[in-house]
Subunit: 225 residues, 2 copies
Amino acid sequence: MATALKLKAFDLGKQASAGDVIYDALRDAIIRGEIEEGEPLRQDTIAQMFNVSRIPVREAMQRLEAQGLVLSERYKGVVVASLSHDQITEIFQFRALVEPTVIELAVPLMSEESLKAAQHYCDAFAAETDPLRWGDLNRDFHTALYKDSDKKFFLTMIDKTNDLVERYVRLVLYLTQGMRSAIEEHQAILDACKARKPELAAELTRQHIDQAGKALVGYLRDHHR
Amino acid sequence: MATALKLKAFDLGKQASAGDVIYDALRDAIIRGEIEEGEPLRQDTIAQMFNVSRIPVREAMQRLEAQGLVLSERYKGVVVASLSHDQITEIFQFRALVEPTVIELAVPLMSEESLKAAQHYCDAFAAETDPLRWGDLNRDFHTALYKDSDKKFFLTMIDKTNDLVERYVRLVLYLTQGMRSAIEEHQAILDACKARKPELAAELTRQHIDQAGKALVGYLRDHHR
DNA sequence: ATATTGTAGATTGGATACAATTATGCAAAC
DNA sequence: GTTTGCATAATTGTATCCAATCTACAATAT
C-alpha cells in the first residue's frame, strides 16, 4: 500500500456566482442602512455597478425579497423594505422568546474559546469609538454566545431577525452614542455563561432584548422615523 | 353629475409572473412529498413542463433554496433537500417554543368565525378518509387558531417550519392512518380556546407539538427513513 | 384652469443564444 | 476485470435582445 498522501483540502465553499456576490453585497448595504428605506434598486444601475447583465441582479433581488429585505412590484421595481414600529416590536418579541432558549442550551456546551471570543467582542464593543463598528461587534458578541448551542435552525432564524432589524439597531446605537447600559448587560450575560448558569443567562438575555427593543422603538418614535 | 358607476374591483393581488407560478408549484410538490428527497430538479425539464425558458425556473429555484426546500450546487444542479432526524427534532423544538406563544396571544382575540372554522377543520380531519387530505386539514386547523394573533412575523416563521417538515408529517399521518391521538389533542386545544383560556391552550399546544415531533421521528426511525 | 388623451422613454419579465463546467461513455492500458 | 484518458453530451451561469407595462409630460378638449 502506498503511503497515505494527504492533500490539503481548501474549503472554497460553494463557488460563488455573480448572483451570490451581488446578493451578499446588496444584503450588506441594506442591513447596514447604507441605502435609504423605500429607495428603488434599479436592475440596470446595479448591473452596471458590477459589470454584469441584469439576470444575476434579478436573481439576487428575488432572494432579497424572500428574505424580507426588499419589496418588489411588477414593472415598478424593487425598493428597500421598511418596518413599522409594530413590526419591529414584534420581531423583538420573537427574539426575546427564541434567544434565551438558545443561550440556555448553549451554556453547558460553551467552549473556553467561545467564552474568550465573547469577552473579546464585549470589550471591543465597549472600547470602540467608531459608531459604524458597534453594530458588527454587538452582533458578533451575541453570535459567539449562541453558536455552541448546535441548533442550526434556531441560529438561522435569529440571523434572519438580525438582518431585518439591524439597520435600526445601528441607527439607535449611533443616536445614543453606544448605549452604555447595553455594555453592562452584555457583561452580565457573559458572566452568567462563565459561571455556567443557563437559566440566569437566559433570563438576562430576555431582559436585554426586551430593553433593547423598547429603547429602540422609543428612540425611533422620538426621532419620528 | 353622472350616476356614480361602481366597477367591481377584483383583487388580483400582485400580478403573478411565471417565476411566481413555478415557485408555488414546485414548493407545493416538494412539501407534499411528490418529489423524492435528493431528486435533482433540472432547469430544462421543468422549463419544458411549464412551457417557459429556464430564466423564471432558475429564479423560482433560488427562492426555494432560500426557503431551505432545495440544495443547489454549481454546475451540478438543484436537489430536493432532506432533513436528518436531528434537524426534524430541532424544528419541532422550535415549533414547541413558538406556537404556544402565538396561540396564547391569539385566544383573547379569536373571533367566533375563526373558532367555527377551526372546529370545521378539526371535524373534517377526523372524518376524512383520503390520507392525502390529512396534511392539508391538519395545517388548516392550526392556521385557523393562530391567525387572529395578528403576529405576522411569527406566522411567517411558523409557515416556514411547516413547509420544511410537512412532507414528513404527511408521510407519518399516512403510515399511522391518521394518528387518532392527534384528533383528541386538536379538540382539547380548540376547547381551551373556546373557553378563552390562553395558558391552557398554550400548554396543550406545546404538548401536542412535542408528542407529534417525537412520534414523527420515532416512526421515521422505525421505517428507516 | 382642469381634466383627458396620446405618446416617448424608462423599467421590468422573459426568450434565445452562448460560454463555462461537469457528467458520461467508450476505448486503451495495466 | 479494473483503471485511466479523452471525446462527447448534459447542465448550469450569463449576455443580449425583445415584449409588456408603467411613468411623465405634452397636447387637446371641456
